[in-house]
Symmetry: C2
Subunit: 557 residues, 2 copies
Amino acid sequence: MKKEKKENSGKLKIIPLGGLEQIGMNITAFEYEDSIIVVDCGLSFPEDDMYGIDLVIPDITYLKDNIDKVKGFFITHGHEDHIGAIPYVLREINVPIYSTKLTNGIIEHKLREHNMLTKVKRKVVKYGQHINLGCFRVEFIKTNHSIQDAAALAIYSPAGIIVHTGDFKVDYTPVFGDAIDLQRFGEIGRKGVLALMCDSTNAERPGFTMSEKTVGKTFDEIFADNKNHRIIIATFASNVDRVQQIINTAYKNGRKVVVEGRSMVNIIGIASELGYISIPDNTLIDIEELKRYPDEQTVIITTGSQGEAMAALSRMASGVHKKVTIKPNDTIVLSSNPIPGNEKAVSRIINELSMKGANVIFQDVHVSGHACQEEIKLIYSLVKPKYAIPVHGEYRHLIAQAKVAEELGIPKENIFLLSSGDVLELNDEAAAVTGRVHTGAIMVDGLGVGDVGNIVLRDRQHLAEDGIIIVVLTLEGGSGQVLAGPDIVSRGFVYVRGAEGLMDDAKHLLDDTMQHCMDKGITDWGKIKTEIKDSLGDFVWKETKRRPMIMPIIMEV
Amino acid sequence: MKKEKKENSGKLKIIPLGGLEQIGMNITAFEYEDSIIVVDCGLSFPEDDMYGIDLVIPDITYLKDNIDKVKGFFITHGHEDHIGAIPYVLREINVPIYSTKLTNGIIEHKLREHNMLTKVKRKVVKYGQHINLGCFRVEFIKTNHSIQDAAALAIYSPAGIIVHTGDFKVDYTPVFGDAIDLQRFGEIGRKGVLALMCDSTNAERPGFTMSEKTVGKTFDEIFADNKNHRIIIATFASNVDRVQQIINTAYKNGRKVVVEGRSMVNIIGIASELGYISIPDNTLIDIEELKRYPDEQTVIITTGSQGEAMAALSRMASGVHKKVTIKPNDTIVLSSNPIPGNEKAVSRIINELSMKGANVIFQDVHVSGHACQEEIKLIYSLVKPKYAIPVHGEYRHLIAQAKVAEELGIPKENIFLLSSGDVLELNDEAAAVTGRVHTGAIMVDGLGVGDVGNIVLRDRQHLAEDGIIIVVLTLEGGSGQVLAGPDIVSRGFVYVRGAEGLMDDAKHLLDDTMQHCMDKGITDWGKIKTEIKDSLGDFVWKETKRRPMIMPIIMEV
């Protein structure tokens, strides 16, 4: 009854709680009356100025405030920027998680690591299956991506159908399973789609992303060219198809394969158990068995293609890997492109490996998992949405997709470049951003979730730039006379050359400052500290052109 | 006499003091008996983990130890990685500097900023001119690069001729002046060249770097497409030809030009004064005059194409530039590619400008200033050196050039991949690395040169990651009784949530620790500090999984 009444006037709210204006931390709420469903629950990695932070998760205050409405999470695929926040968020909002089989396997592994496996309900969904939750119905549609079992979602709401692509590419010849279900996109499009939320990652790139299979051909060539060498290939841990292709080529060439790196071993284990990778008998060997085979009969598949400092390839490159020592005859393949921000780390690895005499191959051994402009046009042309909502990207990527959408004839006013926190209300008659909800990035540092705030970060930045000078002094309780100090200790502040003289001068200066306080009858500790900070700060700036943090500590006996 | 004796047996030493295994800090000594000449004197920019460091200069201990031999510096061109250390190095080794006119103009400007203009002798050299210094003769040869007046050097030594390309590309149609003097490379090659030291920056790239002129055509198209918009173009301050082409296109389109950003204003000023740029009358206007012209009749050329936080474009993007406010109709061109490491900063700028509604063009509006593989092959084929010494690059780039050299028939044993500090001794009969000299990177932080050492950097890194906890206590001189404290203060360490309880617990723990010291009769301050560090460190790790720096300070009254 209620539903009927709202049929034409009700509006759907789309509320991204993260993932816009950045790549990472994808999480979007869909709200209609008393139902909320959430798509994805990802983390992001800390920015360069987030000193000491391990990872960043979305602030889900809005969901907690509406906890009675929240029906479940739908996860499009198993990458960290789509599942990484699950152990943190599901601790606070315990609703079921719906995902495809491999995605669910990866989520289960993650929950197990956090001792939460029994606490969170999970449902495995097949492509084509529809899930009814609240007033929503959600259908999973097969797509292709750099991880298997990726899904687009058709979200049927009383206000209309939303198609969310998830992360996708169009691969007509995938390594495993089927190509993206373009027919279904077309069928749903024919029904009439209210809005398309489409992956923007590669929207700046013209053309079409190549099939994953093309990388297999490249591996065949590399193996043929390097018959007398050990081959070590680094790639993304979660790209099971890539690993499958390396194993296929290794098998054809009679080589044994070692998988190295914790995250890769984990994912290959899950994929293997669930039937997403097929490994010929006697092909995979343990790393301990490596020495029993001649180099030219082995392949090592490893993590660390992004130059991550703790990953296996980094440890090999810097000569601290316990099991693998790089030799001058090794052929090392980086089957990846550097993610923006990782360029220098990747370059460091290439340099280190080259210095050990290895032949490092890093050009044209990778294809992206995201759709380029022609694929984006294809999806728009099948879905033919009324509204376009580019997602999954920094603003530059969103606007690049917006331009593509405009070219395809979608009116500019029907294209929405949302920010995280925007509330987009829409139905067939109108769409507009009508409000904002609280969102944010919660920093995780060690065991602490959200306890590192901006003040702590700012202090860390200050300490990192210029170090700290600590001034301690002991005052007599009654008289306020200086009993000991002021003493000066510094850390992270220059002291190699001439600094001892500098510190002596500083100490004399502080003696004068204290004398000045005494003469003026200044006894308030706050005021004394300010005097110390000001006089020492000016002195240090004049002498060194630096501004270390100055921290006076007063004790009383 | 001496010379005659050595004619056939004497060996030239080539000693790179920087610039190898990195891009930056180029400086190479050439030594023959009692003569040393030095090519270039550059700085490098700090790595990510060099917190608080402004710039890095080479350690020239070897030159100081051999100061009587050092005859002069030859500078190939005016980029910071070739001239930036001059004000620091010439303070210690005051010998003449030889360079072409524009390079000298830029060096003079730098010396003036450091109040050293009258203290350093400079000689302007023309292409084709030969300079005799000690037992060396040095000829300057015209090349092309992303700054005008770049030179290769032919270094005539008693042991043979060395050709050093400097940074170069082959531009058959340069914007200003002549193309690279390929004939002269051929002539010198015909005489017989002992070694070629060739730019490796682009040695990984196949093909040929496009002419600077092609960017001019791109500007013509961009101006034609954006007739109704203000155009803002960011590029490298020192690329005078690029600026010239923007001015040419602006003039053709009847637009006024503003140059913005201190370093660009400086270089354009120098170039203009020395006749390296020709600006039509009434084209250049002051930034204050901008408001007198309609947007579509203006162009702003600005610094900040690398996303540098303090540069003009960054300030425009973040809305804090005093004179230029970005408007939704602006067309903004990044005429540059991000230098590795700057990708995220550049992306941030693109995002910020796009969010202000500007149309940002950043693809294919730039050409490199460095030779790709086909140009490297051309130079090798003209010079036909006996030995190949790839220079100017990280190891990956050096080895890429080594592969090119090998393809061209240079025997592997005649190709030297040097490290900074290697002493390569060579003559027509043999070449080998025979030793090493001390080299290093000296960090400049504020006014301090070399006073920030590894300990300070490591402390800064520790402080940046986890912050600091300071424990202060006052002891009675005779008894060693605790009179005040232990008190705890922290900076950069978590304290937003639950941390007060944590600090209370820590204080109790430290009371216990001090009691324990007292009971055990521990009075040695060093031991007390160790007890404090250990017990507090364990406690904090257990509670938070973090390891802040712990710094006990004891006072005595």
